[in-house]
Amino acid sequence: MAERRLVRVEVDANLCVGSGMCVNFNPDLFRIQPDGHAAYVGESPDEHAALDAAELCPVSAINLIYEE
């Protein structure tokens, strides 16, 4: 299977409850926004950290978007 390239890390604002678990474990990559939702703020998509955050999220709001 060909390696897929991660292009983006998204936090679904409809699902995010601002638990801050992603920020808690990866403070450089995720940040809570003024509206209470988390956002990915890393300069480039970090696949390892994003997968970890996606697993830890209590409401599964973090999506990894790969190149088609």
Partner: protein, 404 residues
């Protein structure tokens, strides 16, 4: 402007809170309740912002002990303070952040999914026992023992000890969720904590020699890698887990099922379309969630809805009222199993968002799918009477169902 009734345990408000919530939302969004001696917030936006605000402190244990108890009482209840103060739900950052990290990996959706078979086996056992009976008590014959068994399995306690958890959890819940008419509730809670902790210490010591595949062992594993975590942190965390995983799920089952049984067309819609189960569970949480409210303490002077709130003031956040705010939900007084999105606040929001939410959702989904399939003609025999509680929303037992 209508006068606000400050008796939060007025039978009329307890039995049907919706009109009271509406009055507060529309005319007194930040209301000083003289009797409760604190502010009451009811609008979705205000409750949401409070849950997300770092100025709203979750530690209401320390102020309570400092201002409400005499020095002698403080000494007498030192153990209660020590245990409650170590609960992650009553802590603020940075301690909260640290404590919550301990639980994070054991409660992530993937770890919870691994317990699916255990949960399904319990559900099957209980409903096998229902077969052939005309009537059951939803509470006694399922809603109480089911989550208690699940959480005991998760922690690693033997099944035959589960009944002991009940009295302990009940004593603590009465203290925390403001049960009324009980003068001895602090003594009862402290005695329960002493026994509970001694019991868990036994499980802990067994696992020092022989770790197992259960949450007590996982927490001990985290503890080995983190010198700041003490044995007490692990034991107290288990007490919190039992308590939090116990009565809230019990109430969620009872409140949601009885609501559905009173709306045959909604129940039928769900039975014929099990794909709606996820949204139905969230609607149960929104409509009659196990917690009407939660408490915070103002960490600074602030203005909320034009009222001056002072540092140290108590604030009651009524999620039950926020969940029915027409500014956020269309047709909020209608129970709709297909409602989506449903951003209710019943699991709280922000850093204290319910750690057990994935577990509660899974328990509900498995139990309701099985129950609706196996007992299609079940109906309610008891009249619903809500318990007089300020924070909790639970139905007085028994809840008799006729199965045939």
């Amino acid at each position: 402007m209508p006068v606000v009734n400050d008796d939060l345990l007025d039978p009329e408000i307890v039995q049907n809170p919706a009109p009271y919530y509406r009055l507060l939302r529309e005319h007194h969004p930040c209301h000083w309740n003289e009797r409760w001696r604190g502010w009451v917030l009811t609008r979705y936006e205000d409750v949401y912002n409070a849950l997300h605000s770092s100025q709203m402190l979750a530690d209401r244990i320390t102020p309570y002990f400092q201002t409400r108890l005499s020095e002698e009482e403080r000494k007498h209840f030192a153990l209660t303070y020590e245990v409650l103060h170590s609960f992650v739900v009553f802590r603020d950052p940075p301690d909260h952040t640290h404590l919550r990290r301990i639980f994070a990996r054991s409660f992530m959706p993937k770890s919870i999914a691994a317990m699916r078979d255990v949960v399904a086996a319990y559900v099957k056992d209980f409903f096998d026992e229902w077969e052939g009976r005309d009537t059951v008590d939803l509470n006694r014959d399922f809603a109480y023992p089911f989550p208690a068994n699940v959480i005991a399995s998760i922690i690693g306690a033997p099944r035959e000890d589960v009944h002991r958890f009940h009295a302990w959890a009940d004593a603590l819940t009465t203290l925390l969720l403001a049960g009324v008419g009980e003068d001895q509730r602090m003594d009862r809670a402290q005695n329960a904590l002493i026994e509970f902790k001694a019991y868990l210490a036994g499980l802990y010591d067994e696992r020092l020699k022989t770790p197992r595949n259960d949450m007590m062992s996982w927490l001990m594993e985290v503890q080995r890698g983190d010198p700041t975590l003490t044995r007490d942190d692990v034991l107290h965390s288990c007490i919190l887990l039992v308590n939090a995983g116990h009565e809230t799920t019990q109430d969620l089952i009872c409140n949601t099922l009885t609501t559905l049984l009173k709306m045959p067309e909604q129940l039928e819609l769900l039975r014929s379309n099990p794909a709606h189960m996820r949204t139905a569970i969230d609607e149960g949480l929104r409509f009659n969630g196990p917690l009407k409210g939660t408490m915070r303490v103002a960490g600074a002077d602030m203005t909320i809805a034009d009222e001056q709130v002072r540092e140290g003031d108590r604030i009651l956040l009524l999620m039950g009222a926020a969940n029915r705010d027409p500014a956020k939900f269309n047709d909020p007084e209608t129970f709709d199993v297909t409602r989506s999105p449903n951003p209710h606040l019943s699991f709280s929001h922000g850093i204290h968002f319910c750690l057990g939410a994935p577990l509660a959702r899974m328990e509900m989904e498995i139990a309701f799918n099985e129950m609706l399939k196996r007992f299609p003609r079940m109906h309610l025999m008891s009249e619903i009477k809500w318990d007089p509680r300020i924070l909790g929303r639970s139905i007085e037992p028994p809840i008799n169902l006729r199965l045939g």
